[in-house]
Symmetry: D2
Subunit: 144 residues, 4 copies
């Protein structure tokens, strides 16, 4: 399975738009973080909802890659986000993902999002992902 460094390199090459970095990956989960600066804020000094959704999406994607290997064609099929508290305008967003299902065709996971340093989460997401068919013996590995 890919290391944290390999997944980071993949994100930088293939998703140059994202500012997310990977804190941890493996064991059916992942932790990613995203900086917060003016570009992420909206009126009221809060981190915009779409930024939180994008971070949740990356966290789910990284957690799946941690189990099945670097498979670019994994695609989101749904995402539900509940926004619960106003994020800090000065703390990084930290997203902790845990996979609930990793099947042959479909993965489901949940993500709890925090403003770093605060105990109570700012948002929670559940996402589903479609996994493309893979050839046996590729470096994508076998499935859980």
């Amino acid at each position: 399975m890919p290391t944290q460094a390999e997944i980071t390199a993949f994100l930088e090459a293939e998703f140059p738009q994202t500012k997310c970095t990977v804190d941890a990956v493996g064991d059916f989960g992942a932790t990613v973080r995203h900086p917060v600066s003016l570009a992420e804020l909206r009126p009221g000094g809060t981190v915009s909802g779409p930024v939180l959704m994008a971070v949740a999406d990356v966290a789910l994607y990284v957690a799946i890659m941690g189990e099945i290997g670097i498979v670019p064609l994994v695609v989101s099929t749904s995402l539900t986000v509940n926004f619960m508290r106003k994020p800090s305008s000065t703390a990084e967003i930290v997203a902790v993902c845990k996979l609930l299902k990793l099947g042959k065709n479909l993965a489901v996971g949940e993500v709890t999002l925090y403003s770093e340093g605060l105990v109570e989460p700012v948002a929670h997401a559940v996402g589903t992902y479609s996994i493309p068919p893979r050839k046996a013996g590729t470096d994508a590995g076998s499935e859980a």
Copy 2:
């Protein structure tokens, strides 16, 4: 109620990150569009999920402003997106929003997202928004 031009000016001033423009607003709905260029694409040549979610969020926000006025502190409380078809990598995203509820404190709306020129939608979203208390007689107007 604000005109399309006033809402566009508000988005440009307060959400300089967004590339969305407003095609239509009013009658408990809105249509917004978003250009698609390299920055919006992900591996496989498809528009990234977070871009679609961000466009849905703007469409809902614009539809609500079309009814209650320019109220910056309207905030998303939830968003559910189903991704249904691969968007075109060369067509703009067009999002058509319809409000399902506009109460004193809470608005609910749905958004159907298209790649311009295609009949079948690429994604569908449902969002809920919290509306802050407003003073009577302000330009935010009275509620539906």
Copy 3:
């Protein structure tokens, strides 16, 4: 494709728990209704959330059967419901479903739920369904 009477007979035989009846089916949609009596109410005199969810689920299921035939092994993969207004304790629930996608393996649809006689919806649902592989030439028909 099955008629309304055939779908009703199927529901009665296979889902004897449901009290739903089918008003209309076809054209990528369905309308179903559910009586409201004491069994459907909860404290406050409102129709319980799970009853509304069950009606939405049947409406989606019927709409899919209207397109692909009576395929018992279609299964829900997700359902998101937003409860928007207090339903009447004395009116039937009417659910209007529209399919957004009907693919080979996955269907997505939305349902707007009303208390009969009221203009504004009481709830809105979006559901996804997994469609089992079908043999060519069966009465399940070919896919849209």
Copy 4:
């Protein structure tokens, strides 16, 4: 705060339709269970989606009552369920709820649903609830 026995008595009196019983409540969570017999099954010998949704709803409601007291007018505002594996047709459904937010007006929680005896969850739900205004000094207690 109410005990497990008091909440059970409340459910029996006010929700006579439900077959759920309460295994545990408190510490911002709850565990409830639901028997599975013919009435809960659908074609294919699986527990019907609406039954799982109803159990998730009760688990969330019980967890909230465990924190704020027996407040009948707490109402669901949204529920998202992902169905992940086929439940056993012979095991009880066990739902483990954890509250993510308990504010003055809104609670958010997640529920993982199991077929008793199986390690991997059969479904996952996230729900939001509206909490009615309460008088200070009532037995509903003060808020978290």
